[in-house]
């Protein structure tokens, strides 16, 4: 009697731990130099100068083939870089999307001259990406996208609107999903094509959508007769649905999927002091146990991927559990700190971080695949669909 939801107990290799030391030293230096403040969680997170420094260290495109300027190092090493940057609240927006998603898509589907042009710039930290998927009437239902790409001489004309596009205002490129044909009765996913869009041209208007935190991360991106040349098409026309994606498990299972509100936890520990009461100790203990388990699952998925396995179901399980956990952390911390009498200075930092985390919590189970969508994917993995 056994359903195979296996998680091999994979440990990070020694080279990854050596890299961790380097990354920590680098981050400490940057914090000391005032490049960023690890407690300023509300800062925009986009810092091109910082991204360039990260690029110079060789930490962008770490796993990519050498012929594109990568280092062909393992996904477990990349894992360490990602988690250390995340825990330090380093401003990674200038390169994170390109590193995680866009670069791998380009390597797979772009024409050679585009690879040669773009990939080295990503690796140097000089080229940022956004993802143009959601639309006003197409969120979770990705295949309802209606922004049109119409064939014209030598290329395509784009018309329509993308929304919730993170970082569009700071991006050099978008990888956009546009409708090139109507869907068919047999396949409603048919008819969408991936394009590389150079941002900042006439025909593209980027309007900010400010979140309740006051942060400008999302945008509305309006296309009006934007011309895209034929060689900027990624993969087959109308077949984007097939191109999704072997990278999905990486995207779903990374440490960013459960560490987004992590900063609350050490502050909670600080506020409750060195000798918390039974309630406080139990609360911390449970949170730490849950987080440790999440991380062990996530490392395991990355290790299995590195070993050439395809833990697709495990990836979705990790993302679902991870995002729910990071979402619940602020409210649990609030409960546990309710009677704390730590010194007001500590409490002030905690309150500030908690406020911010409480306001970003709702988005964590929406962005990149809602809880409802993920549960559907898991149900399919369990043969219920």
């Amino acid at each position: 009697m056994s359903t195979a939801i296996q998680f091999d107990p994979i440990r990070l290799p020694s080279e990854a731990e050596a890299l961790r030391k380097e990354v920590r030293a680098f981050l400490q230096d940057e914090i000391a130099a005032g490049t960023f403040d690890p407690n300023a969680v509300a800062a925009s997170g986009f810092n091109r100068e910082f991204s360039r420094k990260v690029g110079a260290k060789g930490w962008i495109g770490l796993t990519w083939p050498k012929k594109f300027g990568g280092q062909e190092r393992s996904f477990l090493e990349r894992y360490v870089v990602t988690e250390e940057f995340r825990v330090a609240n380093a401003p990674v927006r200038g390169h994170f999307t390109a590193d995680r998603q866009s670069g791998p898509t380009i390597m797979k589907y772009a024409q050679d001259h585009i690879k040669d042009d773009v990939l080295p710039r990503i690796i140097r930290g000089e080229c940022s990406f956004c993802i143009g998927m959601s639309e006003p009437n197409s969120g979770s239902d990705l295949f309802a996208a209606s922004t049109r790409a119409t064939k014209t001489d030598g290329g395509w004309l784009i018309n329509g609107t993308k929304i919730w596009t993170s970082g569009a205002h700071n991006s050099d490129y978008m990888i956009g999903l546009f409708r090139t044909s109507p869907s068919t009765k047999e396949n409603r996913r048919h008819g969408l094509t991936q394009f590389l869009v150079k941002m900042g041209q006439p025909g593209i208007t980027v309007n900010p959508v400010v979140q309740m935190t006051g942060i400008h991360e999302f945008n509305e991106v309006v296309f009006e007769n934007l011309f895209i040349a034929d060689d900027h098409v990624f993969g087959e026309i109308d077949m984007a649905w097939k191109q999704a994606t072997s990278e999905l498990a990486y995207e779903r299972s990374g440490p960013e999927r459960f560490l987004e509100t992590f900063y609350v936890l050490p502050e909670l520990v600080r506020v409750l002091g060195n000798k918390p009461d039974t309630r406080g100790a139990e609360g911390i203990g449970r949170l730490v146990a849950q987080l440790h388990t999440m991380r062990r699952m996530s490392v395991s998925v990355n290790g299995m991927l590195q070993a050439g396995k395809e833990p697709t179901l495990q990836g979705s399980l990790v993302k679902n559990l991870g995002t729910l956990w990071e979402q619940s952390l602020p409210s649990k911390a609030r409960d546990l700190a309710a009677f704390s009498e730590a010194d007001p200075g500590n409490r002030a930092t905690f309150e500030e971080l908690l406020q911010f985390a409480t306001m970003i919590a709702p988005k964590l189970t929406i962005q990149g695949g809602t809880t409802e969508v993920l549960r559907g994917i898991i149900a399919r993995g369990l043969d219920l669909r």
């Binding site: 009697m1 998680f7 502050e267 911390i284 495990q314 559907g376 369990l382």
Partner: protein, 358 residues
């Protein structure tokens, strides 16, 4: 997983499939199925998996032993396989050849203690010893003064009170007053009552992970078969989402328990180094798998409707053992208080380095 692991897992699975089929056991009028199962486990060497070759055991890796327990949990095994493995491990560590037959270990609770007096007799009462009434022998982590010793006693020499856990399995208060052990050996350096407590907690975590796998499998199969409102209930999104959540709990349990097993193997290989990292691993497993047991059992029952909480349906064999096992060798709350106290004493800035070290 190496090939040898698979052989161990396959052998265990086959024996339980043949002799401990949950439906057959559930329908059985008496316990006559039990002895053949135990005999088969014993003949295959699984009961002494953690006993070295020289002492007549199978001498498998620590992680392989936890795999055996995961499989036994996936059949809601009502025999003291985990307890016998633990007892064999204790005895093997001091070079004592274990007796044949069922064994158990004491103490099980962190706050219970057995003392070895200068006269060579034991004293102390320990509570909730699993399967003490079934066991031929009890391996004890006792104290001579402050020094931990490992002792073996015949269960028939001890006062064993009647008692059952929520699953209906024996769980007994045992009094050792005046009992002279047949063997007493000083525990190896680094091995003490905490070591047994941690091994026991990891054993229960593995068993619960196995039981949760089965609870998921049974629930999914039921949802695919049971028709209501004109279609299988598994086609309803609400049911699918509940079962997806159960899948997440199964996944977390599998990851946490296998990680703790791996960590303990490392700790023992290093010479009984039970440091903070190992404590984190075991505590996290017992806490997280225990949480999954509660949540998972609830979802499995909800999916089954009324039939799930009848005696005739096999689900209760799994859920009642999940509820029982989460309490053994420290419940979630007990482990969480200890883990939280450790994290707090280390200070906020040490939290991430500790997590990242695993």
């Amino acid at each position: 997983m190496s090939d040898s692991d698979n052989i161990i897992v396959d052998t265990t699975t086959r024996i339980f499939q043949d002799l401990c089929d949950p439906q057959t056991v559930n329908n059985a009028a008496d316990d006559s199925w039990k002895q053949p199962l135990w005999d088969a486990l014993e003949e295959s060497g699984l009961t002494l998996a953690w006993v070295s070759d020289e002492l007549g055991g199978a001498g498998v890796d620590i992680t392989d032993g936890f795999d055996i327990l995961r499989v036994s949990g996936s059949f809601a095994s009502p025999v003291p396989l985990g307890e016998t493995l633990l007892a064999g491990w204790l005895l093997s560590r001091v070079g004592v050849q274990p007796p044949t037959g069922m064994m158990t270990v004491a103490p099980q609770r962190a706050d219970d203690r057995v003392t070895l007096g200068a006269d060579g007799a034991l004293s102390g009462t320990v509570r909730q010893i699993p399967f003490a009434a079934n066991a031929g022998h009890i391996a004890i982590l006792a104290h001579a003064g402050d020094a931990p010793v490992i002792a073996l006693v015949a269960a028939s020499d001890c006062a064993i009170a009647e008692g059952l856990n929520i699953a209906g399995d024996n769980q007994n208060t045992v009094t050792f007053d005046g009992v002279t052990p047949s063997v007493v050996k000083p525990a190896p350096d680094g091995l003490d009552a905490r070591s047994l407590y941690m091994m026991g907690a990891a054993a229960r975590s593995a068993q619960m992970a196995g039981a949760l796998e089965s609870a998921l499998q049974i629930s999914v199969a039921y949802a695919q078969e049971r028709v209501a409102f004109g279609r299988p209930i598994g086609k309803f999104q609400a049911v699918q989402h509940n079962l997806a959540e159960l899948g997440c709990e199964v996944a977390a349990s599998a990851a946490a328990s296998s990680s703790a097993a791996d960590a303990l193997q490392t700790a023992l290989r290093k010479g009984d180094v039970f440091d903070q990292q190992i404590f984190l691993e075991v505590a996290a497993a017992k806490i997280r798998v225990g949480e999954a047991a509660g949540k998972g059992a609830a979802i499995a029952h909800q999916a089954h409707g009324a039939i799930g909480f009848t005696k005739e349906h096999i689900l209760n064999r799994f859920t009642r053992r999940l509820w029982a096992w989460r309490d053994d060798f420290g419940g979630e709350s007990a482990w969480a208080v200890e883990l939280g106290a450790m994290v707090a004493a280390n200070g906020a800035d040490e939290l991430w380095p500790l997590l990242a070290s695993r």
